[in-house]
Subunit: 736 residues, 2 copies
């Protein structure tokens, strides 16, 4: 809009009144930027980009070089996507490899090369039988290395202690790094990214330091064995990559709206590498994270997700097996506002890590990484399965093929596993709640999936045994004849994981897509969809907010959720400022205020902008001027334009007003005037106003009646009004 | 908005001026409906729904019965989705079964029961060997039945003739039914559904007759062997179901905006049953079809798609094999505007059917159904594969397992297949072009996939043979050692199908999801994504429009595409009416026109509504009155309100104007006044105006300068301006 006004001003300048115009042709520095913790104006950003685009298109006809430049500009979007995909995929691969190594480091070390993980160490081992592959001589547990014992109570205790020590070391390093170098690196970052994508400015949140520290600390905290996931933080890391690459292209770095298109695509790439689920990533970005998602962004996100997944697969940290796609750790985050412990973040982390390590080590279902646990819970019991969960009593006379095993009675191992799972479930639920709030990178995706999968597997085993022992019950009679394979506990676990995750995040479509990209189980679409929809219904009965929205509200970010429905009967006139009894609206007149008047007004108020009217009597609106640009323009004029003094009249019209002969040189400010401010009438229902703010991404909207200016509604006013209507504290909305 | 105004009027009535109000409390009939071939006002529909919702919520506190009614209302959305899913799934299943039977009827008949298809007939046959299963004695070819010959030239010719005869009969029946009973049943309907979803009214397009006739004729045309598909028409059929069920609930039948939410979900259910791809269906509806897609609709679509897929699977026309998911025929449609043949639709259909049947029968790749063809082309060649495409020369010494066959030299069968495929490819491309435009239900999805799959398979076989014979070339050297299985022609076919379909429809994400729901091939995400993105790039270089958009433009529907970017420099003042030199805008004044004045104005103009201003001098805007509602209100008042004559003054203010003592009773019309019309300033860039029309779904927008009314911009004006800027004929936009 600004540039468009410029062009009009230029046209005016050519038609005669050019003498005052020259200095205004060059934009002043910082025009079009926003202050920290402020909301951007989407319409204006869009308009600025179209203008830039037009300029390039018209220039491109001038010379071959300009034409090539215009082509480069047109392709820069795809280039940025390519770079984001490459970097995000590489980082995810490096993180996976590092986590692999450091997780194993807690248990032992490789003698041939200390930087080998357990698996890499034993690859070259001579032991070829399946059972002994884990016990290659090159890999030594700490007890073997330090006291030369591999069995017995003292070896167990030594290993236990080393496990705890390493965990504490990793956690301490992580929390210190975050505290000292990049406070924004803690949590998962998804609520903040949602807020940023909706048009909010948080400087440094996606900066290079955050990128570096978050990557390093993510490796540390995941390796430390805390009950948290790397998926949410990976989305944050990918968005940092997106921000970094968009800063290299002026098309994106100078336009906050365009930059957010890149960030949406980066979020998709992040989920893509976190789960190895490119389509799920695109849908996640669409359903859960993004605010403004034009179709062009859909295709670019798709491309970025594709490149990222491909890069990750080339680094190939998982080998080729599908199950190890579960070598994802955890996801989805938030942070508490305050706790007593919260004041001592390092202590908090150390305490929680110690408790996690101490309790987790003895139980096999909590000692192993959560992704391995989920993978085991999802698995069906084949005949050769060595897992404790598959310790069924086999019929010795059975001659059925391996992949069609009928329901069998449970053996001792299954009953033991049930108890251990029950304990692990309780521990996981409790410890995860405490882990979320800590000042380290953390996600909630995998812990929630693990909780759901444990509960699901337990229910599945229960139903299976019920069906085996009571196959004459009505519900089982039709398809559970003796010898039939009618209950698959692994499927129960999968459905449970989807349901739990759906309840926490309230995703539906993207959840199902991620689940089946993860498991490769297209046959299970129907139960997964049913689980996702049911869990959403049940969770919505407790409250409409998913965990991301809850966190956004806790932090008081100005986020106008597209999912919230506003159905109250209020009108624009009830929300606009000034309210009854308040002092009148601060306005500028088009040609009667002096520079000093305006400076005083700016000093005495903290509004982000001022409506400009014909005169105080008529109150007919002609435009809107941003505070920031007024300040810059006046400062600029006072420095560079002769004859501008405090007494100079400021005018926003095309032609200078008629002034007495000896009055000082007037100051033309039409350039900073937005001639197309958004207006609604005072009778407009707030429902419509909310819709307009949401869909057009406005910062403010002026309220008129019969062409007369009555008041103003800002995004903050809208959010406060919505909070009030929902019986929440309107003061919780802190930013504008 | 209307209802809100009512409530304000009521408030006014209570506060004193009630005597004129009583009759206005009841809505006049037909208020809130639209005329055929007109655009709806989304904001208004939304506002009306919120009002209805509020009324129900406040009533629900009055009694238990009202509370139950409010619960029923809240759940009616899910009930409608359930019903749509059930009906759409059932219809799709019935269509599949009927097509099965009638396609086989062209070749022969079952002696045990004539309503059995070939497969059903032979199920009970005693022939158990695999090769003879198709040759059971109960199934008789026409030559066997009529002249008792199963081999030889005369039998071949007789079967050929019967094949052509049946095809002609089916096609003739179909085109006659469409012509006589439901002209809207022709084509696929997707472009019209897109237009309807964007807020256009086409009465009868989704009616019960269309539903019935389209279902019946779809079976006929698919069975006739024409080169068309049933997927697009199935989306239309599902939308007809959606329209039918939404007419049962006043929540949806009385609100065009809410009805469109149901239709979006119905479209998802349609794709879900067409391909057996529920998630692809939801994405297709989101990416390709829908206009207004709130998150609530996403979940509901998801649910409808789930129910539909489940119902279809229960009817189970495909058995359990994954390949037969390919028993989908074809998809994506359009119709030509006119051709010479187009004037004789029945003749056209008969001619094309005859040509199709005559040419298709001799070539095995065109005689079989296209879905079977695609399925064969996608398949990899196992050792036991009997297909001509798998006639490779096997190494007799080979002892490799069945599923790991190395590249082999092609045998005679493969070379024959290549020639036949090449001929089939050319035939398919040509005949599909002619088939699209005919006046029968038809889709383009499967024909495009077939074309892509044929081309892909041929390239695949070529590369395979090249790799076999030249495995020392640089590009093959690394992974094509002799004896390795390095080229899979089936995958080339799959990628080719995706690319061709992507080029035609310009879908990306939903295409990939549909493809992998169809093939179950999660491993192929990366090549499929790459194919989708590349084909979109290449196709976009030829023109930005997909086939649906092209058709919408051809028909001149008022569709404001969210994908089109408007980047021109025009302002609202360039587009608004009246233009320079045109007569001034027709406006109403708030309290100085008589009933007769208004009636004359309505008679002399055909505008859809009139702005209301304070007076002709001040031109300050106070609201907007719809033509249709003005007419209804005046008619109503003249009939039912005493003292209203042609000389009565009409007023839109709260209080009646002061009138001379003997003047007739004035008519209060505040009820039909929209007090919150949308306004922009004359300086607003058209880019912003287009954005507002798109995102808020406006019908018209008023243009002001400094609070004074200057003109009006309608959706038609916007579309015409966009056409003009794109150097197209603005007169091609025909509706408003």
């Amino acid at each position: 809009m600004l540039k468009r006004v410029t062009s009009m001003v230029n046209a005016g300048a050519m038609s005669g009144s050019g003498n005052l115009m020259d200095f205004l042709d060059e934009p002043f520095p910082d025009v079009g930027t926003y202050e920290d913790f402020h909301t951007i104006d989407w319409l204006r950003e869009k308009s600025r980009d179209t203008d830039r685009h037009r300029k390039i298109t018209s220039k491109s006809k001038e010379s071959i070089w300009e034409f090539i430049k215009s082509l480069l500009d047109a392709w820069s979007g795809w280039v940025v996507m390519l770079l984001i995909g490459l970097l995000a995929g590489t980082l995810a691969g490096v993180i996976d490899l590092a986590v692999d190594w450091m997780t194993d480091l807690k248990e032992g070390v490789c003698l041939s090369a200390f930087w080998y993980s357990h698996e890499q160490c034993c690859w070259t081992s001579n032991e070829t039988t399946f059972e002994d592959r884990d016990k290659c001589p090159l890999w030594q547990k700490w007890s073997e290395l330090l006291v030369n014992q591999s069995e017995g109570a003292s070896a167990y205790i030594l290993n236990y202690l080393m496990y705890i020590l390493w965990a504490l070391l990793f956690a301490f390093l992580a929390v210190s790094l975050v505290r000292v170098f990049a406070p924004y690196a803690c949590g998962s970052g998804i609520p903040e990214i949602k807020t940023i994508l909706s048009g909010f400015i948080i400087r440094g949140y996606l900066g290079k330091w955050t990128l570096l520290i978050k990557t390093v600390t993510l490796v540390l905290v995941v390796s430390s064995g805390l009950s948290l996931g790397k998926e949410g933080p990976l989305v944050h890391v990918a968005c940092c990559c997106g921000n970094f690459f968009s800063s290299l292209f002026s098309k994106y770095s100078k336009n906050e709206g365009k930059r957010r298109e890149v960030l949406s695509a980066a979020a998709a790439a992040g989920v893509s590498v976190a789960f190895g689920a490119p389509i799920g990533g695109v849908l996640f970005s669409l359903e859960e994270v993004s605010y403004y998602f034009p179709l062009k962004t859909l295709w670019r996100s798709f491309f970025a997700a594709l490149v990222a997944a491909f890069t990750l697969r080339s680094i190939n940290p998982f080998g080729n097996s599908r199950l190890v796609l579960f070598y994802v750790e955890y996801h989805t985050p938030w942070r508490r506002k305050t706790t007593k412990l919260g004041k001592y973040p390092v202590l908090e982390v150390i305490a929680v890590t110690a408790i996690t390590a101490i309790i987790a080590y003895p139980n096999p279902y909590t000692r192993r990484s959560t992704s391995e646990l989920i993978s085991e819970l999802f698995n069906d019991c084949g005949a050769l399965e060595s897992s404790q969960l598959c310790d069924y009593i086999n019929d010795p006379n059975m001659t059925r093929p391996v992949d069609d095993i009928p329901d069998r009675p449970a053996g001792v191992g299954v009953y033991t596993a049930m108890w251990q799972l029950a304990l692990a479930l309780i521990f996981k639920i409790v410890i995860t709640i405490f882990t979320f709030g800590m000042k380290i990178p953390s996600g909630l995706f995998i812990p929630s999936m693990a909780v759901g999968a444990m509960a699901g597997r337990m229910v599945g085993i229960g139903v299976e045994q019920l069906a085996y022992h009571h196959h004459d019950w009505i519900i089982f009679r039709n398809w559970c004849r003796p010898g039939a394979d009618c209950v698959t506990p692994g499927l129960y676990a999968m459905v449970g994981a989807a349901a739990c995750l759906g309840g926490v995040t309230r995703m539906t479509v993207s959840l199902v897509v991620i689940m089946f990209e993860l498991t490769g189980g297209l046959e299970y679409i129907v139960p997964l969809m049913a689980a996702a929809v049911t869990s959403k219904w049940v969770a919505d009965a407790f409250g409409k907010e998913g965990i991301y929205e809850a966190h956004i509200h806790l932090n008081g970010y100005p986020f106008l959720d597209v999912k919230d429905e506003f159905t109250h009967r209020t009108l624009a006139t009830d929300v606009m400022r000034p309210r009854r009894g308040e002092p009148p609206l601060s306005v500028l007149t088009q040609d009667s205020m002096t520079v000093e008047d305006v400076e005083t007004l700016i000093k005495e108020t903290d509004y982000n902008g001022f409506p400009v009217v014909v005169s105080r009597d008529s109150e007919r609106l002609i435009g809107f001027a941003q505070r920031r640009e007024l300040i810059l323009a006046i400062k600029n004029a006072r420095q560079r334009q002769e004859g501008i003094v405090s007494n100079s009249i400021m005018y926003f019209t095309e032609e200078p007003p008629e002034l007495p002969a000896n009055s000082p040189h007037p100051l033309k400010l039409r350039r900073v005037l937005n001639l197309s401010p958004f207006t609604v009438t005072d009778h407009t229902p707030m429902e419509t106003v909310v819709d307009i703010f949401r869909k057009l991404g406005l910062r403010q909207c002026l309220v008129t009646r019969s062409g007369r200016l009555l008041g103003i509604i800002t995004k903050k006013d809208v959010l406060r009004h919505m909070a009030q209507m929902a019986n929440q504290d309107p003061e919780s909305i802190m930013f504008n």
